[in-house]
């Protein structure tokens, strides 16, 4: 019995020792979180920076402050992968790597993620209640975002530019450019004969837009078969910078870009089956470096999943209000 007991004791000790050794050994595997240098942090007013630093910096910056247990494997592996993902989506320490338009778009994206209660993550705020973003904080962030996109639409410079472009265009209404987007989508103007599915006015950035859909897209909307959208559906969004007239109407000024979404579940499987492309100004310069569409889908995935990853479709109304004019 005694011998057997000591054997059991030895076994337990050996087991513990093995677990301990394994625990130590795994510390040499996988990466723990490292803080790369801060290349240029977001330059926001103090009241804005304060909120971002308090609620977002733990994951979305190169100034991650970790607890001791966050640095111990296997927890460190999870934390590391989360932070890597977070930095890729938005990194306030490498803000200088984007141009002002991209920075502005990121701020609006952040604001929408917060308002949709998708950020900060609930699992994070459960452990870090100080990171919760209040309605007051949202107001501060909202005012900041609005200040960034505060171009005065009634501005005469804007109006003069619009007049010049229009006078030039109306001569023959021809424009050039048939370039290819990095993901292989070539510019097309078939949308000119498609139905308009929506028109939107966007306060952030002061743009007015017409969104067209091909037959497959229009049918999918009518039948509400948008989860997923059928292969072959194509959407095209034509965007103008706003000019405001004296009666308070926002009207199309200078042409800004055409954006397309092409549905092909196989070809674009990395971006939820949608091929994104954007062609800038009247010479339709393709937007983005290879991989640019990751940024497109990350936003569409987070905020428009219910609509099959599409933002700009008309809103649902009661059927008795449908096509009332055609029934008369």
């Amino acid at each position: 019995m005694k011998i057997a007991g000591s054997t059991l004791f030895t076994r337990i000790v050996i087991a513990f020792a093995l677990i301990l050794l394994l625990g130590i050994a795994i510390q040499f595997f996988g990466n723990t979180v490292k803080n790369p240098p801060v290349t240029g942090k977001i330059a926001a007013p103090p009241q804005v920076s304060q909120i971002i630093e308090r609620s977002c910096y733990a994951c979305h910056s190169n100034e991650t402050k970790l607890q001791w247990y966050d640095k111990v494997a296997p927890v460190s592996w999870l934390v590391n992968s989360d932070i890597k993902k977070a930095r890729k989506a938005m990194n306030f320490s490498e803000w200088d790597k984007m141009n002002p338009a991209e920075q502005q778009a990121k701020v609006w994206y952040m604001l929408n993620m917060i308002q949709a209660k998708k950020m900060p993550l609930k699992t994070y705020t459960a452990l870090h209640p100080e990171a919760v973003i209040t309605d007051k904080d949202i107001n501060v962030l909202e005012n900041y975002a609005l200040s960034l996109s505060a171009t005065n639409p009634a501005d005469t410079v804007r109006e003069n530019a619009a007049n010049r472009e229009y006078n030039n265009w109306k001569k023959d209404q021809k424009t050039t450019g048939t370039a290819k987007s990095p993901n292989g989508i070539t510019y097309f103007d078939d949308w000119k004969s498609w139905d308009v599915i929506n028109t939107t006015y966007r306060q952030d950035g002061n743009t007015i837009r017409i969104i067209y859909g091909n037959k497959a897209a229009v049918a999918a909307i009518a039948q509400n078969k948008i989860n997923p959208w059928p292969d072959g559906a194509i959407l095209a969004k034509v965007v103008w910078n706003e000019v405001q007239d004296k009666n308070g109407y926002a009207r199309p000024g200078t042409f800004n870009n055409v954006q397309v979404m092409v549905r092909d579940a196989n070809r674009f499987k990395n971006t939820e089956g949608w091929g994104f492309a954007k062609f800038l100004s009247l010479d339709k310069k393709p937007y983005g470096e290879p991989g640019f569409d990751n940024a497109c889908i990350s936003c569409h995935r987070n905020l428009a999943k219910d609509n099959g990853y599409v933002f700009d479709i008309p809103l649902k109304i009661n059927r008795d209000k449908l096509k009332w004019y055609a029934k008369k």
């Binding site: 028109t199 209000k321 004019y325």
Partner: protein
């Protein structure tokens, strides 16, 4: 005892049948509810979108459609041989986009105004909330619709 057990099992089965039936009714009624709503897309039948405008005060969006004759008229290079300009101005009620704050999108059509110009000019309006228009109002609408500047199309 055994018999009692069987009875209680039977009752349980009956209960679950009722439950499933209720669940079934719930699912069906949900589906029916869903079908009560849909999304409106305006079919312009060969007319092309020429321009659009957002009325900030009223939160409405206008889209002007027209045929080639109308477009050429609006650009200020009327085709003297062609006759029969068709203009259609659709006014939509707008609503904030539930997925992206600060964007408004179309909800429902409020009015459809049609101007046709052959030898005579004709104005026709269909409104969700109809109201009679004076001659002056009609003339104002005609000059507004036939005076809009086309958007620069790529």
């Amino acid at each position: 005892m055994l018999k009692n057990n069987w009875t209680s099992i039977k009752i349980n089965i009956m209960k679950s049948k009722i439950l499933f039936l209720l669940l079934g009714i719930l699912i069906v009624s949900c589906n029916v509810n869903n079908e009560k709503t849909a999304r409106e897309v305006y079919t312009a039948n060969r007319l092309k979108a020429i321009t659009t405008a957002y009325n900030k005060k009223a939160a409405t969006m206008e889209i002007l459609y027209g045929n080639d004759v109308a477009l050429n008229n609006l650009i200020g290079r009327p085709d003297t041989k062609a006759n029969g300009a068709i203009y259609k101005l659709i006014t939509w009620k707008q609503h904030p986009d539930p997925n992206w704050h600060y964007v408004n999108g179309n909800e429902e059509v409020l009015s459809v105004e049609t101007v046709t110009i052959t030898n005579i000019t004709n104005y026709n309006v269909e409104e969700q909330q109809p109201h009679a228009k004076t001659n002056t109002e009609v003339n104002d609408r005609i000059s507004y619709i036939t005076g809009l500047r086309p958007a620069v199309m790529p």
